[in-house]
Symmetry: C2
Subunit: 348 residues, 2 copies
């Protein structure tokens, strides 16, 4: 009886996820005097007196964000929590509480749901986060997971996606591309399993990249290290959609360009070898693979000495004037514009 089929002037696929969010939220008005930042960063920021409250949420939908063929349910629960805690870390904050919404189709047994909860419980225990509520319902479709994480940060410690300044150093935690390498392996096994259902999956020796994909960890340890060495990033974001997409967010929020050095991008040997075995450039995995949940951040040049010997942090480039563009300096020394081809589920 309602007409939901009018002709669009733009399409969702044209706009993509970030364009759609910008488009839909451009006219939002704020009424609460304690709203510091709303839509547009890893988490919303609300002034609660002596601290800032951080709020973030992520939807995880079966068939889009996870594939039941190879996603153990316990890992899925763990990952659903971890990726939300990662958003709180990206604000330089400490996660404290989560709410969980879960929609379950009748394909799922009680034991299956218990496995998901057990994974969530393990993530909460590890990061000392309290599971304080949510919603449980049936679903006529697949599994729906919706996690809200809250956390806090001291007011003078909060970090946004920008603005960074020209010549500030670009850093990344851990290594990149591993989650995508893990996904490549799992997709290959899934394809072979379809042809030969009696096969045993051949995943041995690849535990590192599989874990990177199936059970990522929020880098709360990096937040603590930065605190200990008295470095406050000037801009920060977590890598959910790939280095290329995330550095573009920092550049956009800073109205600047950047230069990343391909040879400086940290890639684990296992990631490297698997990418090569699939005839994929390992740098492409790092730039566009996504789901690594590492932290990408900028620091003042003065902080270089404090950061340079931290094993878990790599300095991979620097911010430039906007006119210089967003570039990768390849191993052969040529300059290539970085294009984000990250995990934008809405683009076609």
């Amino acid at each position: 009886m309602t007409d939901n089929n009018k002709k669009p002037s733009h399409t969702i696929a044209e706009l993509g996820e970030f364009g759609l969010i910008d488009y839909l939220t451009k006219n939002l008005e704020h009424f609460q005097p304690n709203t510091v930042t709303g839509v547009g960063d890893d988490a919303a920021v609300i002034d609660i007196g002596d601290k800032y409250l951080l709020l973030t949420k992520d939807l995880l939908l079966e068939g889009i964000h996870f594939d039941m063929t190879y996603q153990p349910l316990r890992h899925l629960g763990y990952k659903a929590v971890a990726v939300n805690l990662s958003d709180i870390c990206a604000m330089n904050g400490t996660p404290t509480h989560i709410l969980v919404g879960i929609g379950i189709s009748n394909r799922y047994t009680l034991e299956a749901v218990e496995e998901i909860y057990e994974g969530m419980r393990l993530a909460c225990e590890k990061y000392k986060v309290d599971f304080v509520g949510g919603d449980t319902t049936s679903s006529v479709q697949g599994l729906v997971l919706s996690i809200t994480a809250i956390g806090t940060v001291k007011k003078d410690k909060v970090t946004y996606r920008g603005p960074a300044l020209p010549n500030e150093l670009i850093c990344v935690s851990g290594d990149l591309g591993g989650a995508y390498a893990g996904l490549l392996l799992l997709e290959r096994e899934k394809a072979e399993f379809k042809v030969n259902p009696d096969m045993q999956p051949d995943l041995q020796g690849n535990e590192y990249v599989l874990e990177r994909f199936l059970k990522p960890e929020p880098r709360q340890d990096i937040i603590r290290i930065l605190q200990d060495i008295h470095v406050k990033p000037t801009a920060m974001i977590d890598i959910s959609d790939g280095l290329a997409s995330e550095i573009k967010h920092i550049c956009k929020h800073s109205d600047l360009g950047c230069a990343l050095y391909e040879e400086k991008i940290p890639i684990d040997q296992q990631t490297y070898d698997i990418a090569r075995s699939f005839n994929i450039d390992p740098t492409t995995c790092a730039l566009n693979g996504g789901e690594d949940y590492e932290l990408l951040f900028t620091i003042r040049q003065n902080d270089y000495e404090k950061v340079k010997n931290i094993p878990e942090i790599s300095i991979i480039g620097h911010m430039t004037e906007k006119s210089a563009g967003i570039n990768l300096i390849t191993k052969s020394g040529s300059l290539v514009e970085i294009k984000a081809q990250g995990w934008d589920h809405l683009k076609k």
Copy 2:
């Protein structure tokens, strides 16, 4: 490759929504000293210094919580926000911020998504709530809406689902059963539309109940009235699943029974007439219909004089000892045990 098909000892359908939540969350540990209440009330309660922070979330899934045949998208957006704000009101709090997760299948145009956002924006504007973030993704299934609402309440004003005390008075705001009457009409029109797609829907003169179903309002006005007349409810819950289900929650949290008087249950004339035209007992609509989003609460007997002349509040019964049971005193004077047959999507 994972085995999600083990034999269950219980089934989800046996447990139902509330049983499942109890079962899954029974071993949750809290690590944060400022967690006051976690799972088990309308919202989680967190101590943020001079106030309590309230946190709640609801998933709304196409095919379970709404039917696109008759749910205008703008109303859907409005309702998704309203039902979450209602949970904050049920804690005697004031909603301040929301986060929105939305999963969209490719059936939806940009204009359709804009309509949903416009409804959410209108609800935010009306209740002076800030839309501060969320997540937008594609969905291979239908529309998924996940709203998180936060709010605050003065520490001495927070209300829980209990404990109420014996002989305290049971009150309800507004009138009940209207949303269900609206749903009955919409379902009838849908059935007729299937037979004759050229028909014009015949809904005129029934605007009140249709609005009750399609565009409910959180009763923030009642929270203000109670504040103004200096009445703090001893227990409170919002009516999402029907009076029967909600009063059972209050009884459970109070370890008490209750007596509700059928003749005191407020039912609008339009609701009454429509129920009758469907050969349904109007009291059944009020008890089991759900989605009215009125507030159900208990007050001290001493507060009777303050409440008795408030037109928007009805006193419908009183709390009793547990041994007396959870009962309805019918119009004919007989005593009937109240059984909840509310909207438990998980029970079969």
